[in-house]
């Protein structure tokens, strides 16, 4: 089953130096229960691709089909809803809200989805057990270590059971132990939930553990 499809996706960035093609006619289909690694040198368009696939940015041309919905001409409001229901994000930095507790951070997407607070909290508790942080549920986010914060970010991205999880260098700030832990969490969670994991990484070890590796060079898919 194809969860996400990119058809001739291009993005040209307007920089002070002029127009720079960040992504050129990228096409790929992303299946459920599969893990995709996007690799390539810095500035090759990996993050641009991820933001386009995550409906955070608009392509200059091409089309993205998310869970059977063509997203090219839909409104910003619908895109926001689609992101909430179908996409999970993990970034290099966790971007947790330090003023909120661990549980509150995790349930934010679920509350936006319309889940009652009790049900969302119950889901968060299950996820916290999965990531081994059940005992720290009521701590404020800033009181956790970097690795723990990133695990909470993973739990937050999974709470709505999104069909597609997009991870932009999720282990970039972590040590080897935590890197492995985060990748395992993401890949197992995706396989268990029937989701697609697309992970942008420089880490060749992690890329090797993915089902498919996509290599970008100068905005073009080279392999």
């Amino acid at each position: 089953m194809i969860n996400l499809q990119a058809i001739k996706l291009s993005k040209t960035l307007l920089l002070p130096s002029g127009e720079v093609p960040a992504l050129v006619e990228f096409s790929a289909s992303f299946e459920a229960r599969k893990c995709y690694a996007v690799t390539g040198p810095s500035g090759c368009g990996k993050s641009t691709l991820l933001y386009l696939l995550g409906l955070l940015d608009t392509p200059t041309s091409g089309e993205i089909i998310l869970h059977g919905i063509a997203t090219g001409k839909i409104s910003a409001e619908t895109k926001t809803k689609l992101r909430n229901q179908n996409l999970g994000f993990v970034f290099q930095f966790h971007f947790l809200l330090p003023e909120l507790t661990v549980t509150e951070n995790i349930i934010l997407p679920a509350l936006k989805l319309g889940l009652p607070e009790e049900a969302a909290t119950l889901r968060a508790q299950t996820l916290l057990k999965e990531i081994g942080l059940a005992q720290k549920a009521d701590r404020l986010a800033w009181q956790l270590s970097g690795g723990e914060q990133q695990r909470v970010a993973v739990a937050r991205c999974l709470i709505n059971n999104p069909p597609v999880v997009l991870a932009d260098e999720p282990t970039g700030n972590l040590d080897t132990h935590n890197s492995g832990l985060i990748f395992d969490l993401l890949s197992h969670a995706c396989i268990d939930r029937g989701s697609t994991l697309i992970i942008v990484t420089h880490n060749s070890g992690l890329a090797a553990r993915c089902d498919v590796a996509l290599r970008l060079k100068d905005g073009k898919l080279v392999e």
């Binding site: 003023e99 509150e104 509350l111």
Partner: protein, 415 residues
């Protein structure tokens, strides 16, 4: 709890000091606004009460002379007939047929009473001291219906005014100046007419000039002294709703061609002074609200700048621009609401305390303590102004936050 409300509350709680400053600023602005309005409006209302209780809502005096029509008539006739001379016009002092006019006016709705007054100057003498006074000849029963004379008596008894053969009411300042006491007999001189009157009561209107110069006598006595057996009257009108006085005065002028002056026109200078004071104090106090709003604007703008990445991730997880906007607007609502509640409470407490402060004012009215007005509109206006200030201070950062492009922020760009 709505997630945006939860986030707003937590953001604000993390900025305790800035939030407290914002709340204190709003509370002070609201309370000072209420306090100054309560005082200025209080004194204004007291002044209005004094003048209405002394001179009524409308005074009808001379036959209305429409000078503009008169000039136009002369000009037009000169054009047609060359050196045309208008017929002499006799000036008619006072209301010439008071009973007929009163009969016409009594059925008019909104009029609570009409008192016929005959005015004239006289010299009042006691023990070698003489003071020029303004006699007001009244029928007590009628006059009490259009004035607060009953409540203005500070010494003596009004009932004697009806029973005494030659009663006189004197003002408090005149009594003080001439050392007059209730029961004493004074002499009144008008030209070659002299009469003796007994002081039955002393009144205090609060208006310095009136308390010094005005004396009340039975209308027939004054007519005799002034040798004006009929006409020459002034009609003082009391109204159920004094605010309607200008319309009624105009209607009387149009219908009966008498000069009718409402209290708003009569006391325009003082009323303008009070209005100017009220607006001036409101403008001054609003500056506190503006400063408080600037503080809130600063706090929220800094918050937006500090939290761009958190805002971007919220957008990535499905929070709309409206949600992001509402996170900041909720903070404004909280600061504004708490500030207003505190401000209203402080304002009410301050007003209550100011009312107890002693101050001796004589001249345009008489009071021995601060006069305040407990008017709900001051509280509503203060809250509305504060909420507008907070809204203006909040909306810009909120819009700025909602305008963020998550991809740009996460890519490392700026606002």
């Amino acid at each position: 709890m709505k997630p945006t409300l939860l986030i707003a509350w937590r953001f604000l709680r993390a900025q305790t000091r800035a939030a407290a400053m914002g709340i204190i600023g709003i509370a002070l602005g609201v309370s000072f606004f209420i306090l100054t309005q309560a005082q200025t409006r209080g004194f204004e209302e007291f002044f209005i009460k004094t003048i209405l209780g002394t001179n009524g809502a409308i005074r009808i005096s001379d036959k209305y002379q429409n000078s503009r029509d008169y000039v136009e008539e002369v000009a037009s006739n000169n054009e047609r007939h060359g050196s045309w001379r208008p017929t002499e016009r006799t000036y008619i002092e006072g209301v010439d047929y008071p009973n007929a006019l009163m009969k016409q006016l009594r059925p008019v709705s909104g009029i609570s009473g009409i008192s016929e007054i005959v005015e004239g100057g006289a010299d009042l003498t006691l023990g070698g001291k003489t003071y020029h006074v303004r006699m007001n000849g009244i029928r007590l029963y009628d006059h009490l219906r259009v004035s607060s004379l009953a409540g203005q008596i500070v010494s003596g008894d009004l009932s004697s005014f009806e029973t005494n053969s030659l009663p006189i009411l004197v003002g408090e300042r005149l009594a003080h100046r001439m050392d007059l006491k209730v029961g004493q007999k004074v002499m009144l001189h008008v030209g070659d007419q002299n009469t003796q009157a007994q002081i039955v009561a002393i009144f205090q209107t609060g208006s310095g000039d009136i308390d010094l110069e005005r004396v009340y006598l039975p209308i027939n006595q004054v007519r005799t002294l002034l040798k004006k057996p009929f006409g020459n009257s002034i009609l003082q009108i009391g109204m159920d709703n004094p605010a309607d006085a200008p319309a009624l005065a105009k209607s009387i002028e149009d219908s009966f061609h008498y000069h009718a002056v409402c209290w708003q026109e009569r006391e325009k200078v003082w009323l303008d002074v009070f209005a100017a004071l009220r607006v001036s104090s409101a403008i001054t106090v609003c500056s506190i609200l503006v400063i408080a709003a600037m503080g809130i604007f600063n706090t929220l703008t800094m918050m937006v700048l500090e939290k761009t990445r958190q805002i971007a991730i919220l957008m990535a997880m499905g929070y709309s621009t409206a949600d992001i906007r509402s996170i900041f607007l909720w903070q404004g609502v909280f600061l504004g609401s708490v500030g207003c509640v505190l401000g209203v409470a402080l304002g009410a407490l301050g007003t209550f305390m100011v009312e107890k402060l002693p101050i001796k004012i004589r001249g345009i009215f008489s009071t021995d303590h601060f006069v305040v007005s407990w008017n709900t509109s001051h509280y509503v206006l203060a809250v509305v102004l504060a909420l507008i200030a907070v809204f203006v201070a909040t909306i810009a950062p909120a819009l700025r936050a909602a305008k963020l492009q998550p991809a740009d922020v996460l890519r490392g760009g700026s606002l």
